[in-house]
């Protein structure tokens, strides 16, 4: 798989880099957090990103998208990760739009994609129910009586669930938690009667929500894809999610690493730069190696999405597991190597430390992905 960005993709990355550095630096993220912003991201920034075409990168051309591919989108997400940029790009486009692209009816796509491209509407995927990402454990009930469908149960950790206009809800329509069969995907307005949304303030300052469905009535037209076969749609959506989240995380890793290396070159103790100590040099060099390995895994997985490879799931799990572990390592080392300053809120290092932990849980932690990888390979 080609892991090298082409001219156009490089240009997009540079554009995103320049734009985000001037319009959405880490200070912007910090302000959102300190203000306890109700939206969790800047609507103005999102409007500007939409104008730049960022929301349309992977959407099909027939619905007004750019069909530009995941290597390009990954490059943008990486830049967002560097700046800790909060935006609904991941929840709305990577997860939401993918679900509709892969499973939605023509009518659903016609209705939603043009609005998505213009930034007039946002989506969120309500999937997790417990402490850990475990799609097959879905228990939120979808009861079917003729043409009347009812949703009952609770979802947690819904990325941007508090602000999204529409929710894609993963439900259980038959079987028991743990079964692959019997999962159905439905599309509902967040404001539907019986839906209760509570914003959860996560430590990274972003927007996540707890959403409870109290006997929410919907119509069969709101199903996304065939009933009980939801996993067939969901799996590729979650693969895209894991890979794109890994791309965002890679940017965060690189940034917090670069800042740490700079600090090692500046900070003096015992009359020398602390970067001259071999104990720190070797740890820094090991991190550099791991980051480059992660970069290879992420680029390869993004390319696999663009090439519709058959082993996308394996590559997704490989990339997410490696990046999860790497972000934890590098953010911990960043705090340690910054010494006392590393544990102050004044420095941005702590913001990366926190984003690392939240993003590790989004789309599955390393244990989840290693277990899935092993199961996919039959051992």
């Amino acid at each position: 798989m080609n892991m090298i960005l082409n001219e156009e993709q490089r240009l997009l990355k540079e554009t995103a880099h320049g734009f985000l550095q001037s319009h959405a630096p880490v200070a912007a993220m910090r302000k959102l957090r300190d203000d306890r912003d109700t939206l969790g991201y800047s609507a103005e920034l999102w409007r500007q990103l939409v104008e730049l075409g960022i929301a349309s990168i992977v959407l099909p051309e027939e619905y007004g998208g750019l069909d530009f591919g995941f290597l390009g989108l990954g490059a943008v997400l990486e830049e967002m990760g560097r700046n800790l940029t909060a935006s609904p790009l991941f929840s709305s486009v990577v997860l939401g739009a993918s679900a509709l692209e892969l499973g939605g009816s023509e009518q659903q796509r016609q209705e939603i994609f043009p609005q998505l491209v213009e930034g007039k509407l946002s989506l969120a995927l309500a999937i997790d129910e417990q402490q850990h990402h475990q799609p097959l454990a879905t228990a939120v009930k979808l009861q079917i009586e003729g043409d009347a469908l009812r949703i009952t149960g609770s979802k947690v950790f819904v990325q941007d669930g508090h602000s999204a206009d529409k929710l894609l809800v993963v439900t259980r329509s038959s079987g028991k938690p743990g079964d692959r069969q019997g999962i159905s995907l439905v599309l509902v307005d967040r404001e539907t009667a019986g839906i209760e949304v509570t914003r959860t303030h996560m430590m990274d300052g972003r927007n996540a929500a707890k959403i409870t469905f109290n006997d929410v009535e919907i119509t069969p037209e709101q199903l996304v894809g065939p009933i009980n076969q939801g996993m067939d749609i969901l799996q590729p959506v979650l693969d895209r999610g894991a890979i794109c989240m890994a791309a965002e995380m890679l940017g965060g890793i690189q940034e917090v690493f670069d800042r740490t290396i700079e600090y090692l070159k500046e900070r003096e103790q015992f009359d020398v730069k602390i970067g001259s100590f071999q104990a720190l040099q070797h740890r820094a060099a090991i991190m550099y190696c791991k980051i480059e390995q992660c970069r290879s895994a992420v680029l390869d997985a993004l390319a696999a999405l663009d090439n519709h490879s058959t082993d996308v799931s394996l590559k997704a799990s490989q990339a997410k597991a490696l990046v999860n572990d790497c972000y934890i390592l590098v953010s911990n080392e960043a705090v340690q190597m910054h010494g006392g300053m590393g544990i102050t809120d004044e420095l941005d290092i702590g913001l990366y430390l926190k984003r690392a932990r939240v993003s590790v849980q989004i789309m599955g932690d390393s244990l989840y992905h290693r277990d899935r990888y092993a199961s996919l390979l039959g051992y």
């Binding site: 290396i261 071999q278 060099a285 290879s296 990888y373 092993a374």
Partner: protein, 396 residues
């Protein structure tokens, strides 16, 4: 059709017609063909395959044809390698001269030196050994003490070299020698070529923890070396040494990458030795997780190698990536070896006893042998120093 595509088709056709079936089986150590005056062939097929490749210069595909090499450009050489891999063709020749010494000589040697030595390497007629480390100069290679005194029409060499690869079977040895004891360490070193048959050269094999004796200690006792055997400038041998080390580390990372993959598939081995639960999963969840960690890690190493190659192919030099490959691949090989021993349990504790299968014995012997990987060609610690200083530009 592009000329490269044409080259691919011709190459494939030639390999199919000329590579005997027996030479398309996975190679075992005992059947590797090493060059030299005393070379032997394990079979008639092996000899035939070697000779056919040699006659095309494909034992050294990228070397200039005027010295007997294949004269291929990097793209063609890559195609040849890919086609050989696709058919499973064995490498026709194993030779340090080919991997490490030749590329350095092509860069720094005189016309006469190249004309004398390069064709013999390509044709597998001379086997080379490496004289770098000394008992008191390992990681601190530039601290070497073997002396070469300028005696007017010749050098007189005295001292000892260690880890001289198969010096007991080699015909010539390239050595780093001290030619100016008063200059700063790296500036008083010269690069000399010495015929192992010269009076005063003797070798003694070193038995390793794996039971093998791949390395020797070589002694030089008043050895007379002609002046024309100096490669590069007098006292500037360190420049040649570094060029050669670059090739050695590349070789080590390729060997590491191969060793990461060459074993019988880990997951099948783990299933067989550990057992499976009712869902077909390896019964011990911790070992199952370790298998997965290794597969992901070695997968990422292979991808990084591939990315490096793709960058080169597109003319985007990435000088930093090669520097990490030796460290990451050799580290991962050892992690895999430890995992294999954990999987084998008490079946992974012997390489002598006939009670154990060949696969079990080989696994254990490799485990011991591969301890060399993170030491030879610059220890892991030296590699990390290089990354810290050259890539991250950390001070000190």
């Amino acid at each position: 059709m592009s000329t490269l595509e044409q080259f691919r088709q011709q190459t494939r056709a030639w390999l199919e017609a000329n590579c005997p079936d027996s030479q398309r089986q996975p190679i075992v150590k005992e059947e590797q063909i090493w060059g030299g005056r005393r070379r032997t062939f394990p079979s008639a097929d092996a000899k035939l395959w070697f000779e056919r490749m040699r006659d095309r210069g494909w034992t050294a595909p990228e070397w200039p044809s005027e010295y007997g090499g294949g004269g291929l450009n990097p793209e063609q050489a890559q195609i040849l390698q890919e086609e050989m891999q696709a058919l499973g063709c064995r490498p026709p020749l194993y030779e340090i001269g080919l991997w490490m010494f030749g590329p350095a000589l092509l860069k720094f040697g005189t016309e006469a030196q190249k004309a004398e030595h390069i064709p013999k390497i390509v044709r597998g007629e001379i086997r080379w050994s490496q004289g770098y480390s000394e008992p008191a100069a390992g990681s601190d290679l530039a601290g070497l003490k073997t002396r070469a005194e300028d005696k007017g029409d010749h050098f007189l060499v005295n001292g000892t070299k260690i880890w001289t690869t198969q010096a007991d079977k080699a015909d010539w040895i390239f050595c780093l020698v001290r030619t100016d004891p008063n200059a700063p360490k790296q500036e008083g070193i010269s690069f000399l070529l010495i015929d192992m048959e010269t009076r005063g050269v003797s070798t003694s094999p070193i038995q390793l923890i794996s039971g093998e004796s791949e390395f020797c200690q070589t002694f030089f006792d008043d050895v007379v070396v002609p002046k024309e055997n100096l490669v590069g400038e007098f006292n500037q041998g360190w420049t040649v040494a570094k060029e050669l080390l670059k090739h050695e580390r590349k070789l080590m990372s390729i060997m590491g990458a191969m060793a990461e993959r060459e074993e019988e598939d880990l997951r099948h081995l783990a299933k067989r030795y550990i057992g499976v639960d009712e869902q077909g999963k390896i019964r011990d969840p911790i070992l199952r997780d370790r298998v997965t960690r290794h597969l992901m890690q070695s997968g990422a190493d292979a991808l990084t190698n591939k990315r490096l190659y793709q960058l080169l192919e597109q003319g985007q030099a990435e000088p930093n990536l090669p520097l990490i490959m030796k460290y990451v691949s050799t580290t991962e090989v050892q992690r895999k070896d430890e995992l294999l021993l954990a999987i084998l349990g008490n079946r992974g504790l012997s390489w002598h006893d006939d009670e154990f299968s060949d696969g079990e014995k080989r696994t254990v012997q490799n485990w011991a042998y591969n301890k060399a990987h993170t030491i030879a060609g610059g220890t892991s610690e030296i590699q990390l120093n290089i990354i810290a200083k050259r890539v991250l530009q950390l001070p000190g």
